[in-house]
């Protein structure tokens, strides 16, 4: 059994908060540069160039890429052969988020109660933590801060099995087009298919973590991703919803086994500031 110190976990999560807020992942930046070169709409191209320049300034001046430094979402894989010297891994992650957001001058965007008591918790906790047990001695933590604007445009539907590929295609396309400029396009379109209602949404969110534009390993899903991306980018929504071809940078689909009676589909949109950072202890 490998013993990890709680302090080590707290400090790792704190640093992830800062890293994710300030540095746009290289795959996202490369994809945006590729699309900026290809964008024919002058306004769309100017907007993409501003996004690229913004990422450069943020990294250089150690400033958050976006003022909405998000809801801290953590995907934690805990090896069965490792444990913490004190407390739980969840508690250590919450403390890491608290320190990252307060010490790092990140915006605190979480309120105590969604309906009656919308008072800021002032440290961006609680985080949302998805904890999985995996074989091995390592603790892997992926932090994906999620902005409110793009999350608000996410949708889920419980389709009928008879709706099939066309039903899925239609729902994903409509969700992206109806979202228009609100989720800060160009977006990454995460699609969950199958599972139960909540599993489907989780798959959609996890799809956002895949390196941008890497096709699904099943050629049928890879083809559907490519067709959807082309359809979405022909819609005319464009960067910031102000016209052009670059509405999405990628469509990532993650399927999961499902019940014979069901075909759940969830679309989780990520803005162009597709932030995430990870560490393995």
């Amino acid at each position: 059994m490998r013993m990890l110190s709680r302090d080590q976990v707290v400090s790792a999560v704190r640093n992830l908060c800062l890293e994710a807020a300030r540095y746009l992942p290289a795959d996202v930046l490369a994809r945006m540069e590729k699309y900026a070169h290809a964008e024919k709409n002058f306004r769309g191209r100017a907007i993409l160039e501003q996004c690229i320049e913004n990422a450069r300034i943020a990294a250089e001046k150690k400033l958050p890429i976006c003022q909405d430094t998000g809801f801290a979402v953590l995907f934690v894989e805990m090896g069965t052969a490792c444990c913490l010297d004190e407390g739980s891994v969840e508690e250590a992650c919450q403390e890491g988020v608290r320190r990252g957001y307060t010490e790092g001058y990140l915006r605190k965007s979480i309120v105590h109660d969604p309906l009656f008591d919308r008072v800021n918790t002032n440290d961006n906790t609680p985080a949302v933590i998805h904890l999985r047990s995996v074989p091995g001695k390592s603790l892997r933590i992926v932090l994906a801060p999620k902005g409110g604007g793009s999350e608000n445009m996410s949708r889920t539907a419980m389709l009928k099995p008879a709706d099939g590929v066309e039903g899925v295609r239609d729902f994903v396309f409509r969700t992206v087009v109806e979202a228009g400029g609100n989720p800060c396009p160009p977006t990454i379109v995460g699609v969950g298919l199958g599972g139960t209602l909540e599993q489907c949404c989780l798959m959609a969110k996890k799809s956002l973590l895949r390196p941008v534009g890497t096709p699904h390993e099943d050629p049928r899903y890879a083809r559907l991703e490519q067709e959807l991306l082309e359809q979405i980018n022909s819609s005319g929504v464009g960067p910031q919803g102000l016209g052009g071809r670059t509405t999405a940078l990628a469509v990532h689909i993650t399927p999961y086994p499902c019940h014979i009676a069901q075909l759940p589909v969830a679309v989780n949109l990520n803005c162009h500031a597709a932030r995430h950072a990870e560490v393995t202890l």
């Binding site: 002058f42 306004r43 100017a46 907007i47 501003q50 996004c51 320049e53 913004n54 990422a55 300034i57 943020a58 001046k61 400033l63 958050p64 890429i65 976006c66 003022q67 909405d68 430094t69 001058y105 990140l106 915006r107 605190k108 965007s109 919308r118 800021n120 002032n122 409110g148 604007g149 608000n152 228009g180 400029g181 609100n182 800060c184 005319g236 929504v237 910031q240 919803g241 102000l242 016209g243 803005c271 162009h272 500031a273």
Partner: protein, 176 residues
Amino acid sequence: MKHISLSAPLYTGTIRSLSAGDQVVLQGDIYTARDAAHKRLCELLATGKELPLDLRNQVIYYVGPTPAKPGAVIGSAGPTTSYRMDPYAPELISRCGLAAMIGKGDRSDAVVDAMKTHGAVYFAAVGGAAALISQSIVAAEIVAYPDLGPEAIRKLTLRDMPLIVAIDSQGKSLYT
């Protein structure tokens, strides 16, 4: 591409001369307000009380900045999604004389109608370009509702903030 240089506050003649698609750089003093601040302002209006600031000919920027690091004027400060302010904006335009709004994304028909009737304009800033935009903010001070944290009303002094006229005072829009 020509950039029109404007200075806030903004007056009717200037606003009526702007067309959807115009690229603008804005100077001068503007105010920030987002969801919770709008709710409070409209509650004051509904009960006939005085607002903590005079909005006539002023510009409101929908933003909740990150906290300023020591020695900095402000943190990152990109626009938040505007549609959440749609239930409040027509009142501020028609009753308080609000001249312009800065945000991202499309507006409701009620907002566009109020803009047409009273001569207001809606600017889009690039959502997510918060580090870049922060470079054009030279001063910031809280003027109301400090308890709202990132949602407090701030006065910002701008130098060359890059904007696009997304919906003009004739109701012409870049959103399709």
